[in-house]
């Protein structure tokens, strides 16, 4: 498992803002501290709102991967 491999990836394809961020907030507790949580989202606002969410909630924004279908997967590491 690589350093940026998510322990859990939420599928938010087709969900408009703020639903991908709401899903992040709901499911953060399901990964261990130090583990990466991914959110696959095609909503254009997610590119800005995932890092903003991480800043506001004191989590770490790690970056993004691309799923096989081309949808970005935004990665955050649970810090607390």
């Amino acid at each position: 498992m690589s350093a940026t491999e998510p322990g859990l990836t939420l599928d938010c394809r087709g969900k408009a803002c703020p639903l991908p961020i709401i899903e992040l907030g709901r499911h953060l507790g399901e990964v261990e501290i130090g583990t990466i949580l991914g959110v696959a989202a095609d909503d254009p606002a997610a590119r800005y709102d995932v890092p903003a969410w991480a800043r506001m909630r004191q989590q770490e924004y790690v970056g993004e991967l691309t799923a096989p279908d081309g949808v970005p997967i935004y990665l955050v590491r649970r810090l607390g």
């Binding site: 803002c17 703020p18 907030g25 254009p44 800005y48 903003a52 800043r55 506001m56 909630r57």
Partner: protein, 388 residues
């Protein structure tokens, strides 16, 4: 219906969206009604009604010039603020085609600037976009670096940001070595009438309905001695830069409004600044809210904040229900489904966004009514999605 019987009378409604459009100033209304019967004729003709129209138009130009501290021949009335932006920016660029085609601008300009630059691409125009910091202020060093790059035709920077209120460092750019030989276009739409114009511009644009004049009147200023070429088909009007038949009554009303807001500016700005400080402090107490923009170096009447886990559309709808009209830069409230490019460039939260902008008549009671209701609105929206 839990709200039945508690509906607020229409005149209690707090319109808090002056950054979209300020209600018509009483001084403008009075002048508009008087001029509408006098200013119908073509100001270029030689007969008496035309001479009357010409007199009113010249008077409007004189008043605007005096209010803004510029020469009358530097003032052109356009049919909108957007048109003034297009003419000002692209006219400076058109006069510099031999020097280059690059337009340097900040990432947080008004859409009118972004769209003008995109349009210029069909004639070889290219954008060089300079980023902003977390409060939305352009990076001085990077702006100067871009401005001194190759093939730069024109620079564009707003006086203040229309969405978050942050003032741009135009004076600091000048003293830090912004090149004098490249023209600077300033979009002053958000600040004209509210704050003095910045210095050092070659062309500048404003919009009358943002200060309490009628809609459909833009102001284009082109500094004397600046090379400017009409980028669009020319017309044969009273003013060489003007296009289309002048709306003389509206121009005169816009001038009257500008004169009136300048006379009351110190008092209104101080009152609005204090109310916005209050909003910033109270909203920051709500958990997980991003209060955006510079708290000090800002427009007096405007504040933006974003509420985590809430949809901008739902917030606007709920606040409208309690009698407050606000704007939102969130994607769900835009026609394009794209979030605000201003908030995105700043790294601010783009969903759950509210922009609140005061009119000259906004009272403390209206602001407090909204502030009292907001925490409940936010927690009920969060409770709906299981996050509170």
């Amino acid at each position: 219906m839990t709200n039945a019987g508690s509906g607020r009378a229409t005149d209690d409604y707090a319109y808090l969206d002056s950054a979209s459009s300020e209600p018509l100033h009483p001084a403008a209304r009075e002048v508009l009604l008087a001029a509408i019967d006098q200013g119908y004729a073509d100001p270029r003709r030689l007969h008496r009604p035309a001479r009357n129209a010409r007199l009113l138009l010249d008077n409007a130009r004189d008043v605007v010039a005096e209010c803004l501290g510029v020469r009358r021949e530097e003032v052109t009335f356009t049919s909108s603020g957007t048109q003034a932006v297009h003419l000002g920016l692209l006219g400076l660029a058109a006069a510099r085609e031999r020097a280059g085609r690059v337009i340097v601008h900040s990432a947080v300009e008004h859409q009118a600037v972004h769209h003008a630059v995109e349009w210029s691409a069909r004639f070889g125009g290219r954008a060089e976009v300079v980023g902003v910091d977390a409060v939305g202020r352009v990076d001085v060093g990077r702006f100067i670096e871009a401005a001194t790059g190759p093939e730069v035709a024109v620079l564009a920077l707003q006086s203040a940001n229309h969405e978050v209120g942050t003032l741009q460092p135009i004076a600091a750019l000048r003293s830090a070595g912004l090149p004098d030989d490249v023209p600077l276009f300033v979009d002053a739409g958000a600040s004209m009438g509210r704050l003095p114009l910045p210095e050092g511009w070659s062309a500048l644009a404003g919009s009358a309905h943002k200060w309490g004049g009628p809609a459909g009147v833009g102001i284009l200023l082109v500094r004397r001695g600046t090379r400017w070429v009409n980028p669009f088909p020319v017309d044969d009007r009273a003013d060489e830069r003007g296009v289309g038949f002048e709306n003389v009554p509206a121009a005169l009303a816009a001038a009257a409004a500008l004169q009136a807001v300048l006379a009351e500016r110190d008092e209104v700005n101080a009152r609005q600044r204090e109310l916005i400080d209050l909003v910033r402090a109270r909203v920051a107490q709500i958990p997980d809210v991003d209060v955006v923009g510079d708290p000090e170096e800002r427009l007096p009447h405007l504040v933006t904040f974003s509420v985590l886990y809430a949809a901008g559309e739902a917030l606007v709808t709920e606040l409208d229900r309690i009698g407050a009209g606000v704007a939102s830069g969130s994607a769900c409230t835009s026609s394009s489904l794209e979030p605000s490019h201003v908030l995105a460039a700043m790294g601010a939260l783009t969903h759950g966004n509210i922009r609140l902008s005061l009119t000259r008549n906004t009272t403390r009671a209206q602001v407090e009514h909204l502030l009292d209701a907001l925490p409940g609105v936010v927690s009920s929206l969060r409770a709906e999605v299981g996050l509170s």
